[in-house]
């Protein structure tokens, strides 16, 4: 099994979610995350002073899939979140050793 972590633009979250459900990967965990990188942060004005808000807001998705589905899911995420501008994000795939379902106690693939 693989864990796919994708950091994507917040504006692409809805399209990633709907494309993923078409591949059958329709449950995952997501987080609102903040980062800092090549892209400039947002510039705003408060009480006459322009400032940089100091972070870039992104969404992070965590999804665990069977080995044979990993490439398909990663490709789906990439296509759905791609804009070709700086700051499109990253997809990280790691190996997962074991999964246990809390409700049933079943392990690994059957726990997915």
């Amino acid at each position: 099994m693989k864990k796919i972590e994708a950091i994507i633009r917040s504006s692409k979250f809805e399209s990633v979610k709907s494309e993923l459900s078409k591949t059958g990967a329709n449950f995952f965990t997501f987080f609102e995350v903040k980062g800092y990188g090549k892209q400039l942060s947002e510039h705003v004005v408060y009480r006459g002073v322009e400032y940089d808000i100091g972070y870039i807001a992104r969404m992070k998705i965590e999804i665990i899939v069977e080995d044979q589905n990993a490439k398909k899911v990663a490709d789906t995420i990439r296509q759905a979140s791609h804009t070709s501008e700086i700051g499109d994000g990253k997809i990280i795939i790691t190996h997962v050793e074991e999964i246990i379902s809390i409700r049933t106690g079943s392990i690994n693939e059957s726990a997915l």
Binding site: V45, Y46, R47, G48, V49, E50, Y51
Partner: protein, 413 residues
């Protein structure tokens, strides 16, 4: 007929008193909205305690220091005893001030004003001052400093004899609070991280809806603050004051909006809120003597000053989270001078009043705060500032479940 007029006059001033009371909720809401979430309880706590200190000290000595009576007319200081002493016994309750209002009405209306000047200071020093030393300062400021300069004009003192005009307190209330705030932020220093080598790093307020509620409550209360200062329910005078007060606020908001858009290309809501208050403070000294047209001009100029003033204080590295110095000090001075231009006052007398009230108040506040600073310190530690004063001073958050979730556990004794 006179009995009916007396009752109506008296009732109007009591209603105005309640409206000024609501201004304290306005100050509390505005200041809470313009500080960071982690300092909300602290600023609310200060606003609550300040009002209570103000009311009690005004009873103990403030009222009789500010209104010592005719024998001190033209003087610099006077005192007619502690507590409330009904003039001429029980009959004095209503046989007072040409039967326009009762003795106790006079006291409670003026008492409600007194704490206002300290509330102004509390916004400017927010997020970094130690609570107990601040309350000691408030006690001295409200019980001694405010009544003395108040007596100079409203108590029949020497500025009154010279023909100085301050209808409802642009100078006596707002600039006094502003001078106190200025002395305090000079001695206190800026919030950690506000002024960096690369320039100003804004620390935005956490709740604009709360700040907006506060400003509308202040605007509402201002009808009582200015309208009650007519000191009777005289139909023409009260109606004019309502009109000038309202037009001043509205034009102040619009010029702040336009100037800040022109200067910063932003529609900064917190700035426009300051503009409303700037217009109100500006109009206060001459609300009874401006025409509606000149009220619009006075408010508009006050509002136009606000964005420049806010940026100027930042340039001087004088950190004022809520803009109290710009609103109450700068616009208070402008409003007092404006009476000499558009209203019933003489410009040079108005200028003299601004200077002497400023010199006395600033010196008083600076010396008191300097002594407190040397004795016990004014600032919280950097660690307390970082964690927020809610948890470090009060051991609670304003939004308990948002701040820390609901993981509370009982502790065995």
């Amino acid at each position: 007929m006179t009995e009916v007029t007396f009752t109506i006059n008296n009732l109007w001033i009591l209603i105005a008193t309640m409206m000024v009371f609501i201004m304290h909720l306005g100050f509390a809401s505005l200041e809470a909205g313009l500080v960071q979430q982690k300092n909300t309880v602290n600023i609310l706590f200060k606003n609550v305690i300040i009002l209570c200190i103000g009311l009690l000290t005004y009873y103990v000595s403030g009222f009789n220091l500010m209104y010592p009576g005719a024998e001190y007319a033209g003087g610099i200081i006077g005192f007619s005893g502690f507590g409330l002493n009904l003039p001429d016994g029980a009959a004095g309750l209503s046989e007072y001030a040409d039967r326009k209002y009762a003795y106790y009405t006079d006291f409670i209306f003026q008492a409600m004003f007194a704490a206002t000047c300290a509330s102004i200071v509390s916004g400017a020093v927010a997020e970094r001052i130690k609570l107990m030393p601040f309350l000691v300062f408030v006690f001295l400021f409200v019980s001694i400093c405010y009544p003395i300069t108040g007596m100079w004009k409203w108590g029949g003192g020497w500025l009154n004899e010279l023909g100085f005009v301050d209808f409802a307190g642009s100078a006596l209330v707002h600039s006094v609070g502003g001078w106190g705030a200025l002395a305090a932020i000079i001695l206190l220093g800026a919030r950690t991280g506000k002024y960096t080598e690369k320039g100003v790093r804004p620390i935005p307020g956490h709740n604009m809806p709360l700040a907006t509620i506060g400003v509308f409550l202040l605007w509402f209360g201002w009808f009582g603050f200015n309208g009650g200062s007519v000191l009777s329910a005289d139909p023409g005078a009260v109606a004019l004051v309502f009109v000038t007060t309202c037009l001043g606020a509205a034009s102040g908001a619009l010029t702040t909006f336009m100037v800040s858009y022109w200067r910063f290309k932003s529609l900064d809501h917190s700035m426009v809120l300051n503009g409303i208050l700037g217009g109100l403070v500006g109009i206060t000294a001459g609300a009874d003597s401006f025409t509606p047209g000149s009220a619009i001009i006075v408010g508009a100029i006050a509002g136009a000053i606000i964005p420049f003033s806010v940026v100027l204080f930042d340039k001087l590295k004088l950190d004022d989270p809520v803009g109290a110095t710009s609103v109450h000090l700068v616009c208070g001075i402008w409003g007092t001078l404006a009476v000499g231009i558009f209203g019933s006052g003489n410009f040079l007398t108005q200028l003299l009043g601004v200077v002497v009230i400023g010199a006395f108040t600033f010196t008083f506040a600076f010396v008191v705060l300097y002594i407190i600073k040397k004795a016990v310190g004014l600032r919280v530690t950097e660690d307390m500032e970082r964690r927020g004063l809610d948890i470090t001073e009060h051991e609670m958050g304003a939004y308990q479940n948002i701040d820390r979730g609901n993981f509370a556990m009982a502790v065995a004794k």
